[in-house]
Amino acid sequence: MAGNVDALFIFLLILCGMMALAIFTLITIFAIRYRRRAGHEAEQIEGSNALEFTWTFIPLGIFLCIFVWGAVIYFKERTPPQGATEVYTVAKQWMWKFQHIEGQREINELHVPVGRDVRMIMTSQDVIHSFYVPAFRIKQDVLPGRYTVTWFHATKPGTYHLFCAEYCGTMHSGMIGEVVVMEPAQYQTWLSGGAVAGSLANTGQGIFQSLGCSTCHRFDTQGRGPNLIGVFGKPVLLEDGRTVIADENYIRESILSPAAKVVSGFKPIMPTFQGIVSEEQLNALVAYIKSLNPPPTGAAGTPNLKPPTGQTPETNR
């Protein structure tokens, strides 16, 4: 990604450099050649429609090319590839908290393997922050009350700056960290080090049960709430006739503002969990509900009772 951005940047540098040089040269030449002196008088020229149209449409054409190029890069930046490793991120004044699917948690340091797509699912528990890794040429604002997503694919091991790029209060400039890109083997060692209670989805499962979610959202028969197996990523018909995709943001909203988008055929009886679950717990719950999807092969239609283990989506109850 960095290469693409730099390529466009260098192209623009050359193009704009030439444009600027042309204009400055012309101005200099005119200023010297037509300087005021005795015996020299200005020659009046009204203008020229042909010239005006030339310098309207040629720049427009060039601009449109730049637009397309920039948009193509943007499209890639904003479309995470399938099967990327997911890292949940909670930003707060003034630190970055990361939750790996495997269960590792870090603050202001993010360890990722080299050569793997990493998808950041980010939210803020207070104000707007912005996840910015200059070396990867990516930046994405992190908003309170919803998830935003970005992704990267690190190609070289090393340690890179992580900055908060959206002004967020007193210690905005202290909300910095490091992205540590490691060789896969080292990364595995890092993953296995440290005491980890279990995967993020596992933690989510625990929260799901302790909050009593499972009394209504039953997996065997239809409870008072929708059955959540296989819901993630699917369209959901709502009570008011609209359809939404059950993505991370929808799950999040349904936990915090359950009455906002009620599933068709159910009553708005669910209480809000605003202020009851923390952002980290919410992430765990989302990871858990995502893990309830059957594996992409579609072989296992019935849920088994095995708790999820890896970052690959697994079926469980």
């Binding site: 009570e239 359950p258 009455a259 906002a260 708005p268 009886i269 669910m270 809000t272």
Partner: protein, 225 residues
Amino acid sequence: MSDRAPVIATHSPALRHHFSNMEQQMEASVMGMWVFLITEIMFFGGMFCGYMVYRHQYYSAWVAGSQKMDFWWGTLNTIVLLCSSLTMALGVRAAQLGRRKSVVIFLLITILFGLGFLGIKGIEYHSHWTEHQFPGLNWAWPDANGNLVALFFSFYWAMTGFHALHMVIGVGLVAFIAYHAWQGRYSAEYYNPVETVGLYWHFVDIVWIYLYPLLYLISHKHISG
């Protein structure tokens, strides 16, 4: 003043020095008010825009909030305002014709209607307050969607509040020109202030014409109930 323009034969005492004639002065002041009203549209537009975004996002909460509006008071207030626009228009007409007395009378009736509107709005505000429907300061909502209904009520208070503020200013302006009219400052030749204040009054009225359905009539249930 060494540079006084040659005195025009029809020089009216109401003609300000920098205009060349009454027509130019009239055109300028009416256009000025129109431009001002455009800024007002943009001012309210900001709120309407936010309203539409949230209404689209949280429709059910908007219905729930709207059902706490008093349909009858709201409708009565709409009628009151429409009547006030009528009397305002009649006042402007009377000013055009140079009928001093009827100008004053129509403007006074307009003021009464305006105050009536504000009174009714006050009654509504009072009942919303006592029912804890003011987000932040005094808020209680029984259901789980209270947070989202709070959004609706925030817009209700902000939009009607700014509208009411415009009404207060409007009543003040009408009172001001009514006083001037009573003093005999206006004539069939010079009645710009009456005309421009009239425009302002109609604008504030129109804002309400939008607020009324957007806030009171979201769901039909309260018409039957």
